[in-house]
């Protein structure tokens, strides 16, 4: 599997939100303004990559040698939760400007299923460490792409007159459906 295919497949063909149904809560919840969307997207790329790399090591050097693979779920979520706490504390002390722009998104990421999802997918596909890192950066970028595009659409929709019942979440979901239909065109390009 060459790395270029891996990247294209993760961003476009198997887009984490629009084709794999992961991370939908923040996708709908933080796509009201593009500024917020960019912040959330960057936070996901950052945390997902670190989480996937660390959980890969945990699985390889702890769970598999001790025959504890069935504890994967509980170990991974605890690793991600502590990682998020740690990153938050580190950014606050060391890089205050970055904390200011990303900090508020970090607590939301513990329950973002895209992060845990990416870590588990890497294990199920039996990626190497390098493949894991590349795949998680690309998947995070795919998440960010979908999020920013949806936010831009929704900013315009705010100016349109739509029936009261459709306003807000329902219309956002239908827009997401149309975007997903557009991304469907990539199917078969790479797997």
């Amino acid at each position: 599997m060459d790395y270029f295919t891996l990247v294209i497949a993760a961003i476009f063909v198997n887009n984490i939100v629009l084709a794999q149904y992961l991370g939908n809560c923040p996708f709908i919840g933080t796509s009201k303004e593009s500024g917020v969307a960019i912040g959330m997207g960057l936070a996901v790329v950052f945390v997902a990559t670190m989480a996937a790399a660390i959980t890969w090591c945990v699985q390889r050097f702890l769970l598999v040698p001790f025959d504890l693979a069935y504890l994967q779920t509980i170990t991974f979520i605890l690793v991600i939760a502590s990682l998020v706490q740690f990153v938050e504390m580190f950014l606050k002390k060391a890089v205050p400007p970055l904390y200011k722009s990303l900090g508020i998104f970090l607590p939301l990421i513990t329950t973002n299923c895209a992060v845990l999802g990416i870590a588990i997918i890497c294990q199920r596909e039996e990626y190497t460490l390098l493949q894991t890192i590349i795949f998680s950066i690309a998947s995070g970028a795919g998440f960010m792409l979908a999020l920013v595009v949806l936010a831009s659409i929704r900013e315009r929709l705010d100016l349109a007159r739509v029936p009261t019942s459709l306003r807000g979440t329902p219309l956002a979901l239908i827009m997401a459906g149309l975007m997903s239909l557009a991304f469907f065109a990539f199917k078969g390009m790479a797997s």
Partner: protein
């Protein structure tokens, strides 16, 4: 008794997840290709949610406030691992169908949200009623959505043939775009129903429930976006 019924029944209509409280969208979209898958995921969520509410409520006085989220996560994750093992042992084909979304129950906002917002503040019997009600509401919603998508997408219901050979399955419904559009339309229908009821009572129409991270109890404790 009255209170018990109130906490149980609110999950069935008034606060029905995920249609009235828009939470835990990933499994809602991902596993509702067929009614059977939706029901299977719903049953798993009933199991985890009821037991996690029970355990969190029992432990609520012992858990120090500062590490409560960590404790909730451990409780929920242990229950999810139990479900994973039981499903592999007794419903292996379903386990394969639901795939990655079985372990992902642990990050379903409903589980941690109910633990934080309700179970950690209420006595055990109410917490169980709340978990059971919310869980059943969630399972029914998933089965409903799965039924709609399966009927249009395959022309079947729980695998039973509904239409004759003349029916051309509408494949859009079982793919990802269909999931989004279908959920959007159901939410819009719910809003329309609410607004129709409000109008008959002479009230003004309102915008439906917004998907807001505030609805998930976890994030309510942190600064809002």
């Amino acid at each position: 008794m009255n209170r018990l019924w109130k906490e149980f029944s609110k999950g069935l209509w008034k606060d029905l997840p995920p249609f009235k409280i828009v939470l835990g969208l990933c499994p809602v979209l991902a596993v509702t290709k067929t009614a059977y898958n939706g029901l299977g995921m719903g049953l798993a969520v009933i199991f985890v949610l009821t037991l996690s509410n029970l355990l969190v409520s029992l432990l609520r006085k012992a858990i120090p406030a500062k590490v409560r989220i960590a404790c909730f996560i451990v409780v929920a994750a242990s229950l999810v691992v139990c479900v994973e093992l039981l499903m592999q042992a007794y419903a292996y084909p379903l386990y394969l169908q639901l795939g990655i979304f079985v372990p992902l129950i642990v990050v379903n906002c409903i589980i941690l949200g109910r633990a934080e917002a309700f179970a950690s503040k209420n006595p055990t019997h109410l917490a169980v009623a709340d978990g059971l009600g919310m869980g059943i509401g969630f399972a029914l919603s998933l089965t409903f959505l799965g039924s709609v998508r399966e009927m249009f997408g395959y022309g079947t219901w729980f695998g039973m043939e509904l239409a004759g050979d003349w029916y051309e399955p509408f494949a859009f419904m079982i793919e990802a775009p269909g999931a989004f559009v279908c959920l959007g339309l159901v939410l819009a229908g719910m809003n329309a129903l609410t607004n129709w009821q409000r109008r008959t009572r002479g009230l003004e129409a309102i915008e439906g429930p917004i998907h807001d991270c505030k609805t998930c109890g976890l994030c309510a404790t942190k600064p809002r976006i």
